[in-house]
């Protein structure tokens, strides 16, 4: 009898240890950062492509920030999801309330491994599964740019999530399955518009986070890449933007690029919903970037 119990206990301990090991945070070390002087000007492009302001800019009078208020990254926006309410944190360069005290490595680990300076896992409501694809120098440029923005005081409350979602450690398992940390090849690709567009769409632009349907564990269903699905942040559906999409099938590359620039469809109806903020960010990129995104969307396999 006693033997059985001891065996059972041992198994529980082993399972717990395995679970603990499997859910441990996996991070980059100082040796993983290249010897590179970041360029804040180049970082601004990553900032708009990455849509950081759409989530982190503090709402003004309960409405989303516009114009220069987009540069005040004090957080506070609430994202309502089936798991509960996420409260977007302050990532302004404020030394106490924001990320002003962070090292470059802290920032890269947050953006590309989803791990906080103390080792906590981040929830994928922070789209690091996409940001993990960005070339590391571009991430370093982005930090240099954020460092130039206004420091905003004020800490944001923790999320209100139901159990088991409230247990961050469990995210380690989710990340084992869904966090693909292989980055794209470097700037060599940048001359081919489709490759440049792919990097923007899969990486900083994190278009798949909304336009790719999710499986039952909340990970992107890669077999239906950009094929649309229910809106993760609200009601309605996010459209299919593969060449088989209801609208996109008829849009030329220049129609897509113009939509990203101006927010008008070829019928001159306007962009709506959560895409408005994305479009406003896209409007801040160079024309060559929007053309590259359009070229990429025309080149991907159609998914019905």
């Amino acid at each position: 009898m006693g033997g059985w119990i001891r065996l059972l206990l041992a198994l529980v301990v082993i399972a717990a240890a395995a679970g603990w090991w499997l859910t441990r945070p996996v991070t980059l070390g100082p040796e993983d950062l290249p010897d590179y002087t970041p360029d804040a000007i180049a970082g601004e492009r990553q900032f708009w492509a990455g849509g950081c302001a759409s989530c982190h800019a503090s709402p003004v009078d309960g409405k989303r920030a516009r114009g220069d208020d987009k540069l005040r990254l004090g957080g506070g926006l609430e994202l309502e999801t089936p798991y509960g309410v996420f409260r977007v944190p302050n990532v302004s360069p404020h030394p106490d309330d924001g990320i002003g005290g962070w090292s470059m490595l802290d920032f890269v680990n947050a953006m590309q491994r989803g791990v906080a300076p103390g080792g906590k896992h981040y929830y994928p409501s922070f789209p690091y599964t996409s940001y993990a694809k960005i070339p590391v120098r571009d991430v370093m440029d982005l930090k240099a740019y954020i460092d130039t923005l206004p420091a905003v005081a004020g800490r944001i409350d923790e999320h209100s999530l139901g159990f088991p979602w409230s247990v961050r450690r469990g995210l380690g398992l989710w990340k084992l399955r869904y966090l693909d940390t292989e980055r794209f090849a470097g700037p060599g690709d940048a001359h081919d518009p489709v490759a440049r567009g792919r990097l923007l769409v899969e990486g900083a632009g994190h278009c798949g986070e909304c336009h790719t349907p999710r499986d039952r564990f909340g990970g992107m269903d890669r077999s239906r890449w950009l094929a649309g699905g229910p809106d993760p942040e609200g009601k309605g559906r996010v459209p299919n933007i593969t060449p088989a999409g209801e609208n996109l099938a008829d849009w030329s590359a220049s129609d897509i690029a113009y939509y990203l620039e101006s927010g008008f469809t070829p019928e001159f109806d306007t962009v709506g919903g959560t895409m408005v903020a994305v479009q406003e960010n896209m409007a801040r990129l160079d024309k060559a970037d929007r053309d590259a995104i359009a070229a990429y969307l025309k080149a991907i396999p159609p998914v019905e």
Binding site: K63, S262, E267, F268, G272
Partner: protein, 158 residues
């Protein structure tokens, strides 16, 4: 002929005129919910149709022509004065409306968005730009007011 016989037809005519005037005045109030929704959607369809030629000019895919642009701006001006009358209580949903609840929750904001649109439209008409380069900023400003209102007061439904 007595006074009576003259006055009766006059009275009848003026009574029916009054009834007509009353009916016209109250038309918007008497509109059923479904009619309100259909009317405002039809108005916005006209607005969208008028945007197309102007948009193509801005995209550089159609020659710039002020008379065509002016026609669109006039359409927008007319709709701008009319559109806000078709949002009675009870027409918040149904009949495929894309009107957002914010229109009823924040009526002032909605009216302000209408005013901004009308003002941008009037300035564009007053500017009467002669070339596409002059037209871009003024017409672009009008287009931005479309987006601003849709952003706050229109939702996608399906």
């Amino acid at each position: 002929m007595s006074l009576r016989t003259i006055h009766l037809p006059v009275l009848c005519v003026s009574l029916s005129l009054a009834a007509l005037a009353l009916a016209a005045d109250e038309a918007v109030d008497f509109e059923t919910i479904d009619e309100s929704i259909d009317t405002r959607k039809a108005l916005m369809e006209d607005v969208g149709a008028a945007a197309k030629p102007v948009g193509l000019m801005l995209r550089g895919e159609r020659d710039y022509d002020w008379t065509v642009a002016l026609e669109s701006l006039r359409t927008w001006q007319d709709v701008g004065g009319e559109f806000g009358k078709h949002f009675p209580e009870g027409s918040e949903s149904g009949s495929g409306t894309e009107a957002a609840p914010a229109i009823w929750e924040d009526r002032e904001g909605f009216e302000a968005a209408l005013t901004e649109w009308s003002e941008a439209t009037s300035s564009a008409i007053a500017a009467a730009p002669a070339t596409l380069d002059e037209a871009r900023p003024v017409l672009g400003a009008v287009f931005n007011t479309c987006k601003d209102c849709h952003d706050g007061y229109r939702i996608e439904t399906d």
